[in-house]
Amino acid sequence: MGKRKGHPSVEDVLARPWCYYCERDFDDLKILISHQKAKHFKCDRCGRRLNTAGGLSVHMNQVHKEQLASVENALPNRQGLEVEIFGMEGIPDDVVMTHNTRVMQQYYEDAAARRAKTGNPMSGSGEGHKRKQIKLETPDELTKRFQDWKRRKLDGDTTMGNTEAPLPLPVVDPAPPVIPASFGQPPPTAAPFAQPPFPGHNGFAPPGGAPFMPGFPPGQAPFSGAPMPFAGSLPGGAPGSGLPPRPGFAPPPMSGVQFPGAPGGTAAAVDDLIASVTSQGAKPATPTEKKGKGKDKTRMIYSDNEISPEEKMARLSRYAFTAA
């Protein structure tokens, strides 16, 4: 069960062929090309489907003696004939980047919305993600773990939360444990994608550990080594002992795994991408393009609501008419 059935990973989404002219994405490059031929490169005179806008322009010119001015059905800023597009080829880098940013943003918004709706934890996303396995501990391991815990407890490790009691034992030390500030609710900068309230946290932490836990290859039980205070479902690893600090608490998806697949990205491009996504993520909500459009200023070419253009024209001296 390598791939989860319900939702594609972000790489899958990013790898989908998409149309430069209308930003639609497709299952297959072939379908994209036939879409472009049908929607954007089709001659409206004779219905011939050309391969490129340039081809259509030449065709219109030679066969119908017409001048193609713009690509049909294209987004307003993509109607130009200057860019030679065929399938995914020829798309300017900056457009690729904006597209990827947009797709990713959408992806995480959707994922967040899904999580908010279902209450499921953030998926590990990314390939190689294994379903959490129920770890069966042998009695020996259990005992060892309990002893570890007890030892640390006696050492007065205050970072231990009460939630990590390995076994539902009678409370040994009733002193309320100090909970790290970042525990329980994510730091403010970490809320780009409305995180659902922390899922149930009492009793056992998920024994498999978070798949993202740095330093542990996925699948390896993190509990078997050094004491692991808290392997909660905070993605990206828990704060506290034994773990490298999470870099800047970037949104979890940014932890590197996502980007190898980003097409056409130089290192700098990826950096920019990360920067742009994180900066967008830092905003309280993600203002979508649509919202921005609604605030656009409008300018009416003709705005006199009382006097028609013809009446104004009639006042021009060259049309001057006075009743005889």
């Binding site: 017409e66 070419i301 253009p309």
Partner: protein, 346 residues
């Protein structure tokens, strides 16, 4: 074979006000601010397209055919409504308004010619009784556009008013002996435009069930005559003829509307942006948009057989401009079989 889109030559020398196809042929009337009415045959070879040119004494604001191709009727800036004998070129004044006459429309079933003027009045001429003075109808506001069906007259006016008149009582009035005193007639319906800005053009559906109207603020609305709640619930309006330039939404007036006579739900809109779009009024989808014309679209007409679309373009009057300049022309588009056919519902 001629190419599918071509220009009529020679074009008028100034801004075009109206274009109308003849009821049964490929002839086309074009009226212009250059004080001429042009009669073209759109299917003739280029050198013979202009059949005749008729010179009048003032800019011509609207033109239409009567029940055949023998006469044209005009509305002029010199307040007159005239009949032009297209054979002889002779023109006679039918009536004189108290301000520039801006619209004429002919309804074949009642044989009525309706003219409108900025003086806020309609003249209803009974063409079957030559020499009969027209009935003068006082409107609640200045008319901007009129359109007729076989039994109704729709008048788009200032203050966003739209009146729908029954032609029958108007016919009765026109037949009576009246001394040209203005009278008010109760319209079938008086509506407020469903758009917030000045009505620019009105076109009745060939099905005669309703009409489309457009405003100076890049918008078209489609509504139905039937006053029942059910029919009124169907009405809708949509934005068009706009473009975003540097983050500013530039909104053009929608100057022209024309319904297709064969695919009865299809209509064309022409805007100040130089674009002509075909819409499927039934499924509320755009069928296509043509390549931008070199200036504002002034008028549109489909030929009665639905094979041609005539597009008149000329510079439009814009805010902050003292004068207009730009190319003037009439393009004829030969429509392929499916070009105007509606799209399936989504």
């Amino acid at each position: 074979m001629s190419s599918a889109q071509y220009e009529l030559s020679p074009p008028p020398s100034d801004v075009i006000s109206a274009i109308r196809f003849a009821p049964n042929s490929s002839r086309l009337l074009v009226s212009s601010w250059d004080k001429n009415v042009y009669l073209y045959d759109v299917r003739a070879p280029a050198a013979e397209q202009l059949v005749r040119k008729y010179s009048l004494s003032a800019p011509v604001l609207d033109v239409c055919f009567g029940d055949d191709e023998s006469h044209a009727y005009t509305a002029s800036l010199d307040w007159t409504v005239r009949r032009i004998n297209l054979e002889t070129g002779e023109d006679t004044v039918l009536s004189t308004h108290k301000a520039g006459a801006n619209c004429v429309a002919y309804s074949a079933k009642t044989d009525l010619l309706v003219s409108a003027s900025w003086d806020g009045q309609l003249h209803v001429h009974a063409l079957s009784k030559p020499g009969q003075p027209p009935a003068v109808i006082q409107l609640p506001a200045k008319p901007f556009s009129i359109s007729v069906t076989s039994d109704k007259l729709v008048v788009g006016m200032a203050n966003r008013l739209v009146d729908i008149y029954d032609l029958k009582p108007l016919e009765k009035l026109a037949m009576q002996h009246n001394a040209g005193t203005p009278q008010t007639v109760e319209p079938l319906q008086r509506r407020e435009s469903s758009m917030k800005f000045m009505t620019r053009a009105i076109a009745c559906m060939p099905s005669e069930l309703g009409y489309a109207s457009s405003s100076i603020e890049g918008r078209v609305s489609v509504e139905w005559f039937d006053p029942s709640d059910e029919a009124q619930a169907k009405k809708y309006a949509f934005k068009c003829h706009r473009e975003t330039v540097d983050g500013i939404d530039v909104v053009y007036p929608v100057n022209a509307l024309a319904y297709h006579s064969v695919h009865k739900a299809t209509f064309a809109s022409g805007g100040g942006d130089g674009h002509v779009a075909l819409w499927d009024g039934a499924t509320k989808r755009r069928i296509r948009q043509y390549q931008k014309f070199p200036s504002s679209i002034a008028a549109l007409a489909f030929s009665p057989n639905g094979r041609y679309l005539a597009v008149a373009y000329s510079p439009g009057f814009e805010d902050g401009k003292e004068d207009m300049a730009g190319p003037v022309g009439v393009a004829i588009r030969e429509l392929s079989e499916n070009e105007t056919k509606g799209k399936g519902a989504k």
